[in-house]
Symmetry: C2
Subunit: 307 residues, 2 copies
Amino acid sequence: MDEFELIQKYFAGSSGPGVVTGIGDDGAVLQPRSGRELVAVVDTLVADTHFPAGTDPYDIAFRAVAVNLSDVAAMAATPRWMTLALTLPEARAEWLERFAAGMRAAATPYELVLVGGDTTSGETLVITVQIIADVPAGQAVTRAGARPGDQVYVSGHVGDAAGGLELIKAGSQEGHLAGRFLRPDARVVLGQALQGLATAAIDISDGLYADLGKLLAASGAGAVIELSDLPLSPALQQQFDADVCRRFALSGGDDYELCFTLPAASDVPDCGTRVTRIGEVVAGTGIECRLQGSLVDYRDSGYLHFQ
Amino acid sequence: MDEFELIQKYFAGSSGPGVVTGIGDDGAVLQPRSGRELVAVVDTLVADTHFPAGTDPYDIAFRAVAVNLSDVAAMAATPRWMTLALTLPEARAEWLERFAAGMRAAATPYELVLVGGDTTSGETLVITVQIIADVPAGQAVTRAGARPGDQVYVSGHVGDAAGGLELIKAGSQEGHLAGRFLRPDARVVLGQALQGLATAAIDISDGLYADLGKLLAASGAGAVIELSDLPLSPALQQQFDADVCRRFALSGGDDYELCFTLPAASDVPDCGTRVTRIGEVVAGTGIECRLQGSLVDYRDSGYLHFQ
């Protein structure tokens, strides 16, 4: 089967809202909605760097889409169209079927349509997904708008993905925590609810501490956070002791929750996603951590490539 | 240097037309032009698959952008914004500087702005570029509109890149032919001139024979082409005998010229790019090759991954 047939077979079905010409030409032709700006995000997953070798291709694909959806959510945008660049050591039908099924599972709830792609052969499995999203003009939420007095929030539970990765490394792909690493649930609906409300937002890919640090650096501010307010899941607390849970929550990464700031007087958006206040933006730089009010020294730089 | 600093240092400067928020946030915020549709293209280059290991990073980057610009040109669109996903075995400053310079050289003539990216570590060098272009609504040229009686054209010279690759493999990166492989000149201006004029277009990446074949398959038509009309460069004809030249021209790939069809009565667009009529669209399927009028049997399937 040649490259063209391969793409046609497993990644077909590229019709959907705003798609004039989908997969199969030199480019996709897309109809933007009036009054909207575009938001473009791109993220790459590399075998052995971003997921363990031997991960189910369904989960790899689900994750490749979800991490991009998470970036879309952090911009308060609505996902619309997706492209896939897939570099593969070999093209096996069974593997591609599972991979395509995982992509569909991640994309379908958001009417996100695959409109183009490129399949190449290479020694390492590399997946790059790009999503084009849109947002009412002027309503995108960046990292740069947090001001002293704003309250710092985080969605869902943090630390689960790091706990899950520990369990996967120890040989268990089953259970709630492993699932939170393998099939992260991007906070797209919450992200849209933050339009015109949040002053800044970021998604948690490198760890809450590192990602909140980036938000604060972009905003030119600091924050004080209370570690006992970190939303830890019962599943995490059952598997690991309190110190380890906090470390996973702050530095584990891969949670794909949103960390965002709201003006002090704002109501918290009510869209069915759990949201927890964990601190406050202050003048200055960096993050001060407190545990039940007492200052604690916490050091971390999150997950970095080439460090 | 961490990933964030790396991207900031070498791929900064993401302001330009329509860029509301560029590199450095979770996504780029972009302002589409009214009355236009978007065209999204994506192409991946893998070391040792798409270019010889040890190629100057300037040329790798130039080529990664040019092959995408060529897809944009084949859709008759105007390139606007670009993202880069770069998977690297190691991050060396000198390499990245050359790579960034090559990207800029390819993008700047078209006011194409890098608005986002992701840098990851992996054993194999993999470069995925995506370009978001635009085109007046309804004016994109696809592969599907060629009709019997239309004339078949090709831009520039074909076969040079294949000849250049032969010389590079033999150890010489210098000279006109090697340059045509390493730094292809995407036909962006010609592509725009085809708006509302061409009935179908495709860019030549897999070889004229294979790519014209795809155009014809999408259009539900066949073609007769005259091999003695193939535009061969003096440099190619000086290096290789006539049969080899024709084989390179038909099957060599990597030329990144445009092959397109015009109604019989149409004027050829005059935009400073050489354009040669090589045949005619006919009813039926497939490509009939003639050499000074006599039927010749030519077989080729072009360059295919996983064949």
